[in-house]
Symmetry: C2
Subunit: 579 residues, 2 copies
């Protein structure tokens, strides 16, 4: 007798499970239930549909060979039955049935299963503030919302927009609105930085500056407290603790939470945070019921702790694992490390593993190495700077995370991706700084430098970890620059070409900003002040590191290197920057 | 007393060692000796200098902050003494001296050392054929050759060129000559494919077709037997076993061999293949003498065997290891896996680990998975196809190698690089197919697909390894297509859109080339011939895999899938391709 498999949820993990299990067990009966009419869409593509990069919403629901993944497609091509506009009301584990309701006509019936898969996804958070449910306030949760936003844009209703939440989706939406539609866009983030918890403040700052350069207003450490309506019931104003912002549209992208009510009501284990509890074969507390995708909690392989990781890439992998187990193949999903990449206008930012802040919060004795080097051979015409930050555990030299940032031209540049992916492979394996030093990256001048930027970052991490390189963090450097009193205790030693240093010498005075070029330090070190701590600054940090080594050797050890140097700080939103 | 360190060789490993050891031991005396006047250049950049992408040879010898790395730079910036135009004649290990000769004036003297580093590099092979030393015949060995070639080009002397050797440098030189100088270029390779030993024939074929599309003549399985001269002693013709080719310039890029004479004469251990023997701290058989770079042999971490791996990226890493050990830090260089990337006009090709052919030659029970998928979300405007081939050991599912290929637009695209680097990280760790399935690649629509092409390739490898997917190799498919007799025993089942299949049906007949679209197979399978083996073909292999699974389930198991499908074969030089 053929196995009856019922899958609740038709976006990512659900269809992936369905198609794979059908391939593995052609004689099984596979049914997907979804309350929506539109299924199997690339939700991460919504910003590109809104922007107009993707002209038709059907493209987000199509295969690479341009067939729309609708009910007929699943039936004909996959042999999988899909019931859309069908809500799962409850699961009866004893009788092994799901009670469902046809949303069109309210009819209810029961579907029996041998195995059930919960792929119920996540639900976007909505701030509990007045006006959060006004017309014109959208979460980025499904295709219908995306279509509605785009219609508002296309009808010329939107001159100004406010994005509440400066995470990845918020930034992508800010680009979608600002770049192609010319909407005057403001991002409001209640944390002190964009992309909180994902990257550290320095890297978030580089994104913030770029957004500002592209005309987006970015307000951090600021909370929306109230949304106001116009006479038609449409949102017209966002009020924060600091100001009120007129707007025609609000995008609320303040995180998501697992949809686990059905599981909870069926008596399955759900974590206090709301994620369905599964083992590494993705079985719930009922071995005949599996769960996958945004509705579950899984293990962070760096910290070893379970948490919620709502990512499309994981949902796809999990779907495969569920299908395998349904078919008797003992696949496992052992966890995730949190690999991320984002395009924001003409920059890319990526991360994998833990940020420094996250690592410290987890109790690690964590430190960083930051570099700013050419992505390609410096003589190759299209080379640009790629900024990398490695987070490592001082105790055992384990690498906990890596962040990357780069500018791009008109085309998307995968220079950050190439370093993030290699790092993800190693970090998931518990790799140390040595493993990154030994990592054999591909080299040819059009693609990389002979010593790849990622290897160079590992070399710097080695120098930091062993105490051979003493650095000042970008944040400390900036706070010193902001504080006239503390400035008396130190001086910048700018070892770039004197012509580059001059404007800083003019602005801050030659006591505060000393210019001696790198190649002359060995001859001119006697000119350096000895009563102050020296902050050695070059473009990328490499020359500074060498200079520190020389100064130390002659007993002038009261110095620190600014990691990443000007290549970092010139990319940050800094108010003291000389014109 | 300060340690005297003498380094013989000033290109890559030598300067890297010198600069790092000086940083670690500022009181050491570090001297680099090189017989050339030009040192510390990016040798891999020579094709880009010849092409004109890099306008001045000094750029290949400059830092990223635009200072030329000459003797004065090393002295002032690094505190390292460089003696150029100085040939090391012999090493006296007892007295710890190197006898050197000033090439300018013939004067000899001795330099004493506490520690010696041999970074003597490699020497390009020259075919032992008549005319190999004629004027106009160049190897790509140093900056002077590069400058001479570019002068010939700039003076308009070169209308036609022959590149002997279709390895990476040969292909880069063919591009340099053909693309920007419009030289009519022929590549002659004695093996049956380009890039022999580095990639397999299918991937080499894609490069070959692209070179041809760009106007380069490619002759494989063909050896140059003689070079002929004109009345001025200049090369004017390349004679092969098949033809004679008029030419104005010959580039001979037929591999390199380690320069180890000095080591051998000093009584140090040198392998039968000519590489200096070192331990993993890069010490030679004399513990006070280290060696690094192209002159040594090191361990291939996949096979466990020592061999010669002349790569600039390894030379840099090895220089660091030597410096560390000189300074008493116990760093090791444990080996390499052979990670490679190449730009050839508007395609990129990369590889890491072993090719299928190399794996079989090493005795592995090796098999492959080949995919041809979108690099980015298929709805993202700039997406293109990235072709990946995973080589794995059937016995233990260990991944032995990965190859990648993609087309690029005007700008260099790092889509292959991103997959190669991640694979290199895992392969060096002895990873299995499962590790690649679990690899957490970064995903956002502008950069990747939700299930990354590399994960997808691992999934296919899993299906192949477990026998759930039966494939025909591209080579077998092509040889069947070339052979009218064997064609009787099989038929192509083209499951693409009938409009795409039609020209093949018209060309080969509907008995030989059956068109039933993917979505109709479940309804129309009865139309399929049952007396022949079916070769299922789609664009990428994914639909074919599904179709196989369905056909198997109804007992029609006499079928194979063409891995990678049309996305592979349309990129190959095929003479039966219908117009």
């Amino acid at each position: 007798m053929s196995t009856k498999i019922v899958i609740i949820g038709g976006v990512a993990a659900g269809p992936k499970t369905a198609c794979r299990v059908k391939r593995l067990m052609q004689d099984s009966q596979v049914t997907i239930i979804d309350q929506d009419s539109l299924i199997s869409y690339g939700g991460c593509g919504i910003p590109y549909y809104v922007s107009g990069d993707v002209s038709d919403e059907k493209e987000l629901r199509s295969t690479s060979f341009h067939m729309v993944r609708d009910e007929a497609f699943f039936e004909n091509a996959k042999g999988v039955t899909v019931r859309t506009r069908t809500r799962a009301l409850s699961v009866d584990r004893k009788s092994k049935t799901v009670e469902v309701e046809n949303i069109e006509n309210g009819e209810k019936d029961k579907i029996s299963f041998d195995k059930l898969v919960l792929a119920t996804g996540s639900r976007p958070n909505r701030l509990p503030i007045d006006g959060a449910d006004l017309q014109g306030v959208y979460t980025i949760s499904d295709m219908h919302k995306a279509i509605a936003i785009k219609e508002d844009l296309a009808q010329g209703k939107v001159g100004r927009a406010v994005v509440i939440g400066g995470g990845a989706i918020g930034i992508e939406m800010a680009e979608a609105l600002g770049d192609l539609w010319g909407v005057e866009t403001t991002v409001v983030e209640y944390m002190p930085q964009l992309l909180p918890r994902i990257v550290d403040k320095t890297f978030a700052g580089m994104v913030e500056k770029h957004l500002r350069d592209k005309g987006v207003t970015v307000l951090t450490s600021e909370s929306a407290t109230r949304l106001e309506r116009d006479d038609n019931g449409w949102v017209c104003r966002v009020v924060t603790g600091e100001r009120s912002i007129d707007t025609d549209l609000v995008v609320m992208s303040v995180g998501v939470r697992a949809r686990s009510e059905l599981a909870r009501e069926a008596g399955l284990l759900v974590s206090p945070q709301g994620g369905i509890v599964v083992n590494n074969r993705l079985q719930t507390s009922d071995p005949d019921i599996y769960a996958a995708g945004d509705c579950i909690e899984t293990i962070n392989l760096v910290t070893g702790k379970k948490s919620h990781a709502p990512m499309g890439s994981l949902a796809n992998r999990q779907g495969r694992v569920v299908a395998d187990n349904l078919a008797g193949i003992a696949s496992t999903f052992d966890g995730w490390i949190g690999t991320f990449i984002l395009k924001a206008f003409n920059v890319s930012i990526g991360a994998t593993g833990l940020s420094l802040e996250a690592a410290k919060a987890e109790g690690y004795d964590a430190d960083i190495a930051i570099t700013a080097q050419s992505d390609r051979a410096h003589f190759f015409p299209t080379q640009t700077v790629v900024l990398l930050q490695m987070v490592f555990d001082r105790k055992n030299r384990r690498v906990l995370g890596l962040q990357g940032f780069s500018s791009m031209g008109e085309e998307v540049n995968d220079n950050v991706l190439a370093r993030i992916n290699a790092s993800a492979a190693l970090i998931a394996k518990g790799a140390t700084i040595e493993d990154f030093i030994d990592l054999e990256m591909a080299y040819a001048p059009p693609f990389a430098t002979a010593l790849d930027a990622l290897n160079a970052t590992a070399n710097v991490a080695d120098n930091v970890a062993t105490g051979r390189l003493r650095t000042v963090s970008v944040e400390d450097f900036l706070s010193w620059m902001d504080n006239r009193d503390s400035r008396k205790e130190w001086a910048a030693l700018d070892i770039r070409h004197p012509a580059e240093a001059q404007v800083f010498v003019d602005t801050f005075g030659k006591e505060q900003w000393v210019s001696v070029p790198y190649v002359e330090i060995r001859k001119r070190y006697k000119e350096l002040p000895t009563d102050k701590k020296l902050i050695i600054i070059c473009d990328a940090g490499t020359r500074s590191s060498e200079t520190q080594s020389f100064l130390d050797s002659i007993g002038m050890e009261n110095n620190l290197v600014l990691g990443g140097g000007f290549n970092v700080i010139r990319r940050l939103p800094i108010n003291w920057w000389p014109d």
